[in-house]
Structure formats: C-alpha cells, structure tokens
C-alpha cells in the first residue's frame, strides 16, 4: 500500500472520533481532560492485564476457549474499572456542584453530565483504536499489502480498521448508557453495557474461523448500531422527561 492507503486506514478507524473531538469535546477544556484521563485509565488496565496474563502468553492453542477466557477476564476487569471510574466521577460531580453553589453559578446540567460520559467513552474508544489498529499500521505505509489466510478477501489492515471503528462506537456510547444507568439506578442499563462489551469481544473470536470475518464484522456492526440506538433512545427519554419535569 502507500501513504495514501495508510492515511485512509487511520481515518477509517479514528476519523469519527476526530470529528466528535473537534465538534463537541474541544469546546470545553474539562472534556478534553476527561478524554485524556479515560484513555490513560484504559491503557493502564491493559498493562495490568498483560502483567497478569504474561505467564500464559503466547497462547499456542488451536481451540478457541483460551482466547475466550482471555477476553472474558479482560472485559470483566475493564467493566469493574468502569464502576470505579463512575465512583470517581460521582465524587468529582459533587465537588463541582458544591463549588458552583459557592460561587452562585448553576450546577451541572443533564447535558453536561452526558457530555462528560461521552468524553469518557471516547477516551476508551480512542485508546482501543490506537492500541489495536494504529500501532499495527506502520507497515501499511510501505509498498506491500497483507492478507491473512483466514480472511483472504479483505486486506488485513482494512479489517483491523473496520473492527476498530466498531469498537470506538461501542465504547463511546456504552459509557453514556452506563453512567446514566448508575445515576438512575436503572438495572437494565447497568447490565446492558457489560453484556454488550462481552458479546462484542466474543464475536471477534468468529474471525478465527476460515472466512469468519465475513460473518464476524457485520455482527460486530450490528452490536455497535444496537448500542448507538439504545443510547439515542435513552438520551431522548432523559432529555424529554427532564424538560417535562422542568416544564411543570
């Protein structure tokens, strides 16, 4: 491939995040900080996981279940960290609200809270894309392309960019759903996020099968759009009921 294709793959994976950053996040410094700290948290979780799993790697196995176990434990750990992230955010929210009261400024609006959640999710998503797609993209800037045996119709770099885009979407909007679920005490939303994350992770195992990426990638996008739709519905519900509450 060439520089053109390399830039194309990078934009495929991270272009929408870039658009989101430019249009929403970059306007408020606090959101930028949230993105950065969330990215850092996600990368730290990866470092801890790799430290724990180091002994067992590389997994030279022809069956899928050691990989399944690896994904399951990693996702479980990351979901646990999400709860931690929420708790830290809650304390921060209380601090900010107290400060606002002291200087007689308005407290955080619902939209502000959602934007913070969005920024947190974006941080996770960008970290995923950088780690699992951009870091592999250096050879793509050279003249050669690469095809994996088990997915021989699509170039490897294209596959990894598309999968990264799906995960960016899932991570970004899951955080909004999750924060809302913790705030409202909505059990469905609280369970929805880890389950979706786990399913998405397991679906990538489909790519192990020969020609599996033809099934795996559409499935992944199905899950991503599911997340997007659920998030949209929830946001609409919250904002309209809020408005109606205020209207009363």
């Amino acid at each position: 491939m060439t520089v053109a294709a390399g830039i194309g793959y990078a934009l495929l994976a991270l272009g929408p995040s870039l658009s989101l950053f430019v249009s929403v996040i970059s306007k408020k410094p606090f959101l930028i900080l949230t993105v950065l700290s969330s990215t850092l948290l996600w990368l730290t979780s990866l470092i801890v996981l790799s430290g724990v799993w180091r002994v067992f790697l590389p997994l030279k196995s022809t069956s899928w279940w050691p990989y399944g176990l690896l994904i399951f434990t990693s996702i479980a750990f990351q979901e646990g960290l999400r709860v931690l992230f929420w708790k830290v955010y809650k304390r921060l929210e209380d601090l900010l609200d107290n400060f606002a009261d002291k200087v007689s400024k308005p407290r955080l609006f619902q939209t502000d809270k959602m934007q913070i959640a969005l920024a947190g999710g974006l941080g996770h998503g960008v970290a995923h894309a950088v780690f699992f797609c951009l870091s592999l993209l250096t050879p793509a800037f050279g003249p050669a392309t690469f095809f994996v045996d088990r997915c021989s119709q699509i170039p490897f770099f294209l596959v990894s960019a598309i999968i990264a885009l799906a995960f960016v979407t899932i991570h970004t909007f899951s955080m909004v759903i999750a924060f809302n679920g913790y705030a409202e005490g909505n059990k469905v939303d609280q369970v929805f996020v880890p389950v979706v994350h786990l399913v998405a992770g397991m679906v990538t195992l489909v790519n192990f099968a020969s020609g599996g990426c033809i099934i795996g990638i559409p499935l992944l996008y199905f899950i991503a759009s599911l997340t997007l739709i659920h998030c949209g519905k929830m946001v609409w519900r919250r904002l309209t009921e809020n408005r109606s509450r205020q209207g009363n």
């Binding site: 491939m1 060439t2 053109a4 294709a5 830039i7 194309g8 793959y9 990078a10 934009l11 495929l12 272009g15 929408p16 870039l18 658009s19 989101l20 430019v22 249009s23 929403v24 590389p58 030279k60 196995s61 022809t62 069956s63 899928w64 939209t111 870091s135 592999l136 250096t138 050879p139 050279g142 003249p143 050669a144 392309t145 690469f146 095809f147 994996v148 045996d149 088990r150 170039p155 294209l158 885009l165 929805f192 389950v195 399913v199 397991m202 679906v203 195992l205 489909v206 192990f208 099968a209 020969s210 599996g212 499935l219 946001v235 609409w236 904002l239 309209t240 408005r243 205020q246 209207g247």
Partner: protein
C-alpha cells in the same frame, strides 16, 4: 428489553458451534508482521563486471530498485507488461538468447529469476555459459576457432540491463507459488511482485569501462593471492641453490554466470584436490633431501579472468621479488599442470590424457616417468594416453601463459579429456560435487605423486618398494571434496577449521577482487578463505618442525620459519617451511597511493596487450524481496473512504446536536 436477551443467547450459541481450524498465525509483534509481509529471498546474483572496452554481467538499470510482478516464462506467450520472469534452469540459455534477438520481448523484461535445478532434470544436455574456446586470445597457437567447449553458449560474456538472480532450493518454492498466484489472479487488483536490489555503483556513476571506473574508485580489479610451496623447504642461506626445479601447478578459481555459485568441481578444483593429496602422500616419504631435483608446487588464482595468477607469477620471477625468493627462473626445468581430472572414471577404468607443447627432452622424461608410475599401479586400472595429435595444441590452461612467455618452455597438462572438454558444465553453477568422481581424483593423485618422485630422483634406481610406499590418503581426498565443493560440511569442516577460521560455510571459488595493496605478506583479512587454507595446509605438510614446536605469539625468529594455524585457538606453531603468497592481478595494473591505474600497453608484455583487465563494480547491498501489492486505485478508494467516513460522522454529530438543542429549547 425482553427481546434483547434471547438475541444475545442466540449469538452465544452461534459462535459456540464454530470451531477454530487450521494453523495459528504465530506473529507476536509488528516486526514479525513486517517480516511476513516482505519475504527476503536468498539467491545468487549475477553482477556487473567491466573490462577496458565495456561491460558484461547484470545490473539494475538505474539507482532505484526494480519492482515487477512475477510471471512464469512460457516460450509461446508474449509479455504484456514489464515483468519479473521466472525461468527454469534449463530454459535460461534459450531465454537469454531470445532476449538478444527479440527487442520487443526484451523491452518488457524488468528482471530474471532462475529456479534452482530440479534433481530429476535431464542432466545429459549440459549447460555452459562460457565460450567455445575460453581465453582463446592467450593461446600459443593460431587456430583460435577450435571448439574445446562445444556446449559453450557464451551468455556470461554479454551485458544485461536487468537484474538476474539464481534461487536456492527453498526459495524456488516461494517464487513458484507467487507466480501461480499471479496467474490465478490475473484480473484482480493484487499481484505478487519481486523487488530487485542490484544497484551497481558503476551504473550510478556512469563509468562503463575499467579505466574510468578504477579512476573514479567505483570498481576493484579481479585478483587474489596464489600460493606456492616447495617440498622439502628451500634453504635460502645454503650455497647449493642450483637444483633444477620441477614446477607442478593447479588452479583454485572458477567462474560462472552467478558470482557466488562458482564451485568449479571438475574444472579446476578436481586438479587442485588431487595435487593436494599428492603433496600429502609425498610429504610422508623419507629421504626427500636426497632428491636431485627440487619439487615446487603452485596454486594460481584468477586464471579464469585472463591467467592473472600465472602471468603475475612469471612477472614476479623476472623481477626476482620477495614473493618468489628462492626460485630462479632459469632453473625451472619442467612445468606440469594438473587440470580437470574428476571425470576420468569410466566403468572401473581411470583414463587421463597428457597434452604437451613442443617435444623436448624434459617432456619425454616426464612421459617416461608417467609410464613408470602407471606400471607400478597395474591393479588400479589407470591408463595415461597422449592427447590426439590433431588437437591444435594444449587446452586452455595456465601453461598457455608459460608458453606465451617463453615458447621453448617444457610443459605438460594432465586432463581427463582428449579433444573436447568432458565437463558438460564448464564454468557453470552446475559444475558441483555430483559432477566428479573421487576415484578419478585419487588415481590422478597417486599418478602425480609417483611421477614426481621418479622425476625428482632423476629416474635413477627408483625401487618398486619406494614407489609402493607412496600412497594417497583416500579419506583426505573425500574430506577435501566435502569441504571445498559442498555446503555440508563446507568450510566449517574439521580439516579446514584446523587451519583457519573461515568467513563462510558454503565455499565459492570465484576469484573475487584484490583488496588494498598487493604484497607478498598480505594482511590475512584481505586474503580469501581458499588461499589462506592452502597456505596453511601446504606450510604444514611441507614443513620441517622447528625447535620445540614453539608457539608464534612473539613471531617466529628462526630463519625460514613461518607461523602455521595462526587463526585457530591454539594461536599457531612455528615451523620451517617455504610457503609464500604471490599476488595475482593483471600485469597492466599498478597500485600507487591508494588507487589503481591502468598502465599503457607494453611490447615487452605481449599478454598484457591482450588482457581485457577485468574489474568488478562496487555495490551497496544486493537482495531480492517478494511481497504482495494492490492497485493504486484501491489505495485511493481507501483514502476517499476514510475521509468520507470522517466527514459524514461530523455532519451526523452536528445534526444531532442541532436536534437536541432545538428539542431542549422547545419550552
């Protein structure tokens, strides 16, 4: 909400039924990915060589790498685009001659890749890229159109503007797969390409003949170091220096189309090995000091490129330089050359032919001695016959240089052929160990050893028992063949490692270039493995042990003592031996103040006037890579897709934000 759970369970079920099949991809890092993408192919290149009038060999046409899709050669099909052509070993000759005659075909050749020969291929056809009369211009007779090598096609003496590589066995499969994949995917947007790096400095600098390239320092002259030794060592200080000398010679270098695959098993290494075995046999004989004549052995290099070794040796003899101190030109009574002897075995009978120049008393003595030696080995079924009288003269050999210098020299060449080469792979990469027979080499060695003993004792009362005591070590011959003509064990064999630390395992007998200033005591790092091995082997076999066999950590102080096995762990032993290096390079070249200059032709050096003065271009790196490439259009589609995804996402976000803001403000 309830709908979602069954959906998720279904997904779980679905993926559980799929099984993981096939081999697991074992890449663990980005460098591993890079290595899987770009496959380095090991191959043997054909490089650019220059002479006074032009160039030969192969090179990239410019400064860039050559990248082209791999296509298998089919005689009937014309090439539609610039391609890297994969040719099988036996098609190479016809392919290259087609390029010469068909310029439209040649225009689409970006590079050539030659498969390694199949074991089951028909070997009776023969292949020789050399000419039909190699080095005919140096012949001491007029008939230069005689065909000593009728199979010769001369393709290695042409100039090619594209890179040519010979593959090893393992890489042949990789390239064949790539060519097959390209054929299947003819319409698709991907292709397997080969990237050739054979950029030659002379092409970059625009110096296209020896004189300019030596001046610009973009090339180096071909040459090396010949090795001579005497048995027993010559006592330089003693007054009695008038023993007549019997000079026995062999060559250590060969040539081929592909620089690093010139084994030359039959021509000329079989002669070298038999002479080494003969020297070993003679070294165990008692009473060598009482011989009436002095035996001197010399191994030339650079002979394939205009008899560089022999011409330089004769020149140094005239100058009486340090390299040849102890030798007096006028004392050389007879010059015997051991040529190719490896194919002299046929149905249990070992047959050799003697090619002589003018008849003289010394030559007759030698022929008598050969007959005597042959008779002493009746059980070995060795037959030595004179060469056909209708031959125009001696075959291409170092003796030609001797005769050109002095047409009255007495000389004889021992070969395994009569009127034409019996070697069907002369100067080709296929002249390897399977082309020769060790029994022929052992027979030649015994013959030569006994003949030399008889000659040196001046034919006087040589007892049968004395002759029978001279026996050739058969395991030494086989060991030398394994070390010098094969990659396994190659130069890492015990025999070679006992004397030197070799720089590579696979032997190659291309003469190479001469590095730095030529001298009789060169820096060992500038002398190639073969010369160093010969020097140490000969010094060891022809030596008289020095006092106490002292180590040479402080140098060897005794007169006539040299340090043997200096490179090995034992750090060397001092022995008394007359073994010297003689530089081998064209008599038309002179090294002064760090550069080489070409001397004008001199009438006192008639062979120098004919000398093409071969040099080899310098280069940075040589290599061959194979990788998959996709259409440029595809790359642009990907870029456009990435940009459009980014833009669409931006629009969606802006729209959503507008909608949400409006919804919130609807109060």
């Amino acid at each position: 909400m309830a709908i979602k759970f069954p959906y998720l369970l279904l997904l779980f079920n679905f993926h559980l039924r799929l099984s993981v099949s096939g081999q697991l991809n074992s890449m663990e890092s980005v460098p591993d990915l890079q290595k899987s993408m770009y496959k380095f192919i090991d191959g043997y290149p054909c490089v650019r060589l220059l002479n006074l009038s032009g160039v030969i060999g192969c090179s990239n046409p410019g400064r860039e790498m050559v990248v082209a899709p791999i296509v298998r050669y089919k005689n009937t099909i014309a090439l539609s685009q610039s391609s890297a052509v994969l040719v099988s070993s036996d098609e190479l000759q016809s392919f290259l001659s087609r390029i010469w005659h068909d310029s439209s075909f040649a225009g689409n050749i970006a590079g050539v890749i030659v498969e390694s020969e199949n074991e089951f291929q028909n070997k009776s056809k023969g292949f020789s890229p050399a000419g039909k009369f190699p080095l005919a211009e140096f012949a001491p007779y007029q008939n230069t159109s005689y065909e000593w090598n009728p199979i010769g096609s001369g393709i290695m003496w042409n100039a090619y503007d594209f890179p040519v590589f010979l593959l090893s066995e393992s890489s042949t499969l990789t390239l064949q797969e790539a060519a097959n994949k390209n054929e299947k995917n003819k319409k698709a947007y991907i292709a397997d390409v080969a990237e050739f790096n054979l950029v030659m400095q002379t092409t970059k600098a625009g110096t296209h003949d020896s004189e300019t390239c030596l001046k610009e320092e973009t090339c180096l002259p071909l040459g090396g170091y010949s090795v001579w030794s005497s048995l027993p060592p010559i006592n330089v200080s003693s007054s009695d220096q008038s023993k007549p000398i019997i000079l026995t010679m062999a060559s250590m270098d060969s040539a081929s189309f592909f620089r690093d695959k010139s084994l030359g098993a039959d021509s000329p290494l079989s002669g070298l090995i038999s002479l080494l075995a003969a020297i070993d046999a003679l070294s165990h004989v008692d009473g060598l000091d009482d011989l009436t004549k002095q035996l001197v052995f010399i191994f030339f290099t650079g002979e394939s490129w205009g008899y560089l070794g022999s011409r330089r040796f004769l020149y140094e003899l005239d100058l009486q330089s340090d390299a040849v101190s102890g030798l007096n030109n006028s004392l050389i009574e007879m010059a015997i050359e051991i040529g190719s002897v490896g194919k002299g075995f046929n149905q249990g009978v070992k047959r050799f032919y003697t090619h002589t120049a003018e008849v003289s008393s010394a030559t007759n003595e030698t022929l008598k001695a050969l007959k005597h030696a042959q008779d002493s080995m009746k059980s070995e079924h060795i037959i030595v016959s004179p060469a056909n009288a209708s031959n125009p003269g001696i075959p291409p050999s170092s003796l030609m240089a001797f005769l050109r210098k002095n047409s009255l020299s007495s000389g004889l060449v021992l070969e395994d052929f009569d009127s034409v080469f019996s070697n069907k792979f002369y100067h080709s990469h296929l002249d390897n160990i399977s082309n020769i027979n060790s029994s022929a080499i052992v027979a030649a060695a015994s013959l030569v050893a006994r003949t030399l003993y008889i000659l040196a004792s001046d034919n006087k009362n040589v007892s049968g028992s004395a002759l029978t005591a001279i026996s050739v070590n058969v395991s030494l011959v086989e060991e030398l063949m394994g070390c010098l003509l094969d990659c396994d064990p190659g130069l890492s064999c015990e025999l070679v490692k006992d004397y030197i630390s070799p720089t590579s395992t696979c032997p190659s007998h291309y003469a190479g270039v001469i590095l730095d200033e030529p001298s009789s005591t060169p820096y060992p790092g500038y002398v190639d493995d073969m010369s160093r091995f010969l020097w140490n082997f000969l010094a060891d076999r022809t030596s008289i042990p020095s006092e106490n066999g002292s180590s040479c950590s402080q140098g060897c102080h005794n007169k006539g003592a040299v340090c043997v096995r200096e490179e090995t762990d034992g750090k060397g032993v001092c022995v008394i031996s007359t073994t010297r290096y003689v530089p081998a390079y064209s008599t038309r070249l002179k090294f002064e103040s760090g550069t080489w200059t070409v001397l004008p032709p001199n009438s006192s050096d008639p062979m120098g006037i004919l000398d093409p003065v071969w040099t080899e271009s310098n280069w940075n790196a040589i290599g061959l890579r194979v990788y998959t490439v996709q259409d440029a259009a595809y790359d642009h589609i990907v870029l456009v897709a990435g940009i459009s995804v980014t833009v669409l996402a931006y629009l969606a976000i802006v729209t959503t934000r507008a909608v949400l803001t409006k919804a919130l403000k609807r109060d």
